[in-house]
Symmetry: D2
Amino acid sequence: MMRLNEEAKGVYVIALTPFTETGDLDLDSTDRMVDFYLERGATGLTVLGMMGEAQKLTIEESQTYVRRILRRVDGRVPVVAGVSAAGFAQMQALTSMVMDDGAAGVMSAPPSSLRNDQQIVTYYKQAAEFIGDTPFVLQDFPLVTSVTIPVSVIQTIIDQIPTCVCLKHEDWPGLSKITALRTASETTGKRRISILCGNGGVFLPEEMARGADGAMTGFAYPEMMRDVVHYSEQGNPERAQDIFDAYLPLARYEQQPGLGLSIRKYIMAKRGAIATPALRKPGGALSSADISEIERLIARQDRRLKELG
Amino acid sequence: MMRLNEEAKGVYVIALTPFTETGDLDLDSTDRMVDFYLERGATGLTVLGMMGEAQKLTIEESQTYVRRILRRVDGRVPVVAGVSAAGFAQMQALTSMVMDDGAAGVMSAPPSSLRNDQQIVTYYKQAAEFIGDTPFVLQDFPLVTSVTIPVSVIQTIIDQIPTCVCLKHEDWPGLSKITALRTASETTGKRRISILCGNGGVFLPEEMARGADGAMTGFAYPEMMRDVVHYSEQGNPERAQDIFDAYLPLARYEQQPGLGLSIRKYIMAKRGAIATPALRKPGGALSSADISEIERLIARQDRRLKELG
Amino acid sequence: MMRLNEEAKGVYVIALTPFTETGDLDLDSTDRMVDFYLERGATGLTVLGMMGEAQKLTIEESQTYVRRILRRVDGRVPVVAGVSAAGFAQMQALTSMVMDDGAAGVMSAPPSSLRNDQQIVTYYKQAAEFIGDTPFVLQDFPLVTSVTIPVSVIQTIIDQIPTCVCLKHEDWPGLSKITALRTASETTGKRRISILCGNGGVFLPEEMARGADGAMTGFAYPEMMRDVVHYSEQGNPERAQDIFDAYLPLARYEQQPGLGLSIRKYIMAKRGAIATPALRKPGGALSSADISEIERLIARQDRRLKELG
Amino acid sequence: MMRLNEEAKGVYVIALTPFTETGDLDLDSTDRMVDFYLERGATGLTVLGMMGEAQKLTIEESQTYVRRILRRVDGRVPVVAGVSAAGFAQMQALTSMVMDDGAAGVMSAPPSSLRNDQQIVTYYKQAAEFIGDTPFVLQDFPLVTSVTIPVSVIQTIIDQIPTCVCLKHEDWPGLSKITALRTASETTGKRRISILCGNGGVFLPEEMARGADGAMTGFAYPEMMRDVVHYSEQGNPERAQDIFDAYLPLARYEQQPGLGLSIRKYIMAKRGAIATPALRKPGGALSSADISEIERLIARQDRRLKELG
């Protein structure tokens, strides 16, 4: 069985959770979405993340959804599941559930109550005790969690918790964190973990140049992340950036907090990856002005990509 | 079957969740604790609250625990269950579970992401849609939730959501809120809901004088709340306050954020209500200095109560 | 004398405060910077804003700096001064000082302690009492202030406080706010105030299309804002967007919270607008990796602009 | 000239700033208030604190007020001035101003933007650079600042910044911090600084027993703090606690966030220490219900104190 480890790279797409118009899980769309992601270069999937509306699902629904994902993926790429929960017992139960069903690892963001270095380290040590030998991704996303994790604390977690194998990097700004962690492993022999970057990919060229291993984000055009990662690794950063620049106006638009998920689902539905753009309640809806802006940006993006060749 | 309604009064004790030293649910202690509360004047119980370590339980444990509570209570008093959850589907699932098992109503605190009046009203309207005709307690506890709910918003919720039957009042300061809500129902004919007060009871005499119907809190001496409510209702506020004053030094000490639950469990174990003071992880532990202080305050409290007669 | 009013439009550049390497005010650079902004299309200047390091200045320094700005501007464009302060008396003193010296108006962001609709309205009413008939800009910037101002509250302020003549719009996402405010003035006859947009200009094409009157932000290439505003008003949104897209990779990079000011000052120094990129303490410093990234983005931007013609 | 140092002890009263009904500084009341405090056992005064409405004063008013305080005190006790400011230059200017006028030291709370250990240490190092050899009090008040300072960070500040001579201790709960700091100085020879306790004095008996040197708070009955400190030091903690208990119902009432200052000023005016209870805007006003409660608590307190003898 696949297990997430420090070698994770490429594009771990943050998967949507498709719903029907009436708010039920849309499992047929789930299959189609998996295919969509894999056809566009996903080297992994991350489910039940913040942009996966995980907190709106019951436990049973979470399991149904994850099982459907795993069945469709069928071992082609590793699947990571978000298990951030109000308490460790729930995190443990969720972890057991998804790992028993075949997930490769889990992801955990710090609760917003953590307020200093020691509290953060202690939290992850206790979490690691609860989830045993399950490999996990540390999600560093201060904009949403309000927890600022200094590099020294990330390094302590890497040093003391061997099951922390990957950093989902979405501090903003956070480029210097990548540099500091890579320098630490190169110059002092610290364990090198995987760094996969979030934030809708809007800093991906710089992140790759700083030493990231890829992306873990859900921009509705996974081919952008695939290409930027590919050309960065091929030593062709200008080509990577040309492609990135073509997608940036839309990526920026999709990156609006709160509204972003509606935008992403709209595009994914338009692209045929899911049947409808419905969010489960509570969820924003797009206005006709929003939709016009999206359509215009897509049209411009298509032209620009065609020019690029 | 008992259903919570606007007439709720007296002392709804915020029940502990007893654990064994190894962190398992302690169901024998649960029985003993129920008896302890009822013998000391509880007119209701509120389980799975913040001080009930609800967030540390799995769904299955929550059900096991609530069922044990309900079996032991056996219809003698209504039982309210906290159902604050990350999303509405989970809240709905929890609500169905506890109501099917015989709870009288549920309690819900606002998520800390709510940032203005309309968001709060919308949140409770959506919550009410999800939990159907289940009566609910609105928990107003800004110190923990960071959500400040103005009186006008509480009044809008009362006006527009008939299943909101009770306010767990623990804004601090919040005395003027009680006055404003009572004035609104007396002078403009607004629906009068139950107001039960939290914060460890440290403002209970004033809250009763302002028009509250009782307490919903978990101070380890429920007889304090029982007596203050009783003498307040009997028109004997001086006697109510004499008793209150005798307990205040310890109530103040127990009210320390974070540490308070350890103190409460220590006293409850000392009083024989539960077998051990163990908190489930993550949970603070008392130092020997803490314990000396508690013992000293209890000894002084005992003397003072004896003097009072 | 010029006074800010509801007709404000174009590009109100958020001005830097130039310092010498030793942390003193650099008044010669201040002159040069004013010229730089005006030559690149500024129709107004906003000084002592968050990105102007206002909070690092003493009152005396603020006055010295504002006077220097005003002398150099010499009535060519209106100058707005930030007066956000810990209390109303300080705000009043600052306002008197800058208005006496010739400013056209002031700008005020809500203190982060405000937590509901009524508190926000009350705050601005009290502020308006203190600053008298001075026209002011309401700065709506939740990412920094943590105060979320609903459209209804902005509309109440517009309705009840005639000296509120401009909204510095930098909610994120906030496009729907512009639409709502413009609809209110068009369909219900509400007073139409100026809306100038912030956030480094990264949503400027959409904001103009929604009804904004221009930009109030400090991206180191004011010509971007000038051109986007110009072509938007000329009915040529595609040309506006082409130019915007060329600047977007760098605008995005400059928009990093915290680090952004160092980036902006670096570019402004490179462009000759100020003598050195020094921030007053406490202030971040750019690493060599940061600088390489900036230089690369500038080079790419230059090529792209040349292609555009 | 008196300078604050590690030996500070007793009762440093957090002084009010008296205003007239029209919102001007009331300097005559300032004199009377100084006498009131000193007659009731103040061993120091702390001015321009949060409860001194410091943020509502202009710089000129701050100076006028501090000078008046210093003239009336006339060297009898040391005077500490709060200098928390938006930036270091302002903090430096305020510090120079009050120290030149004869203050004994300054006090500084961390800005709420600080989010991890290193940021806090760096902040105080930079602050110390700006204020030079001025001795300062570190105010640890997370309820208001939202900055949680771990013991290890306080100890680092003590170790690395010799001008930090006193901790204003008002973490809640914070008793273990006192124990930890005292243990560090006793067992490992760390520098022992003064610890003076805030929070309206509602934990003063326990704080003294843990090793605090006194109080730095503004409860309207300074004689409570004087007596609790005195009897604690005399080895008579039961007498200290008897007196404390008599004041606790009112101290608890005065400790309500936001409303507390209005309560304190009401009592101080009633006691003749200041002419009127007016707060400068924005400031809460007491309702008639509030006033009745206060009067009732004072009457009960008087009876209880008489019984105590």
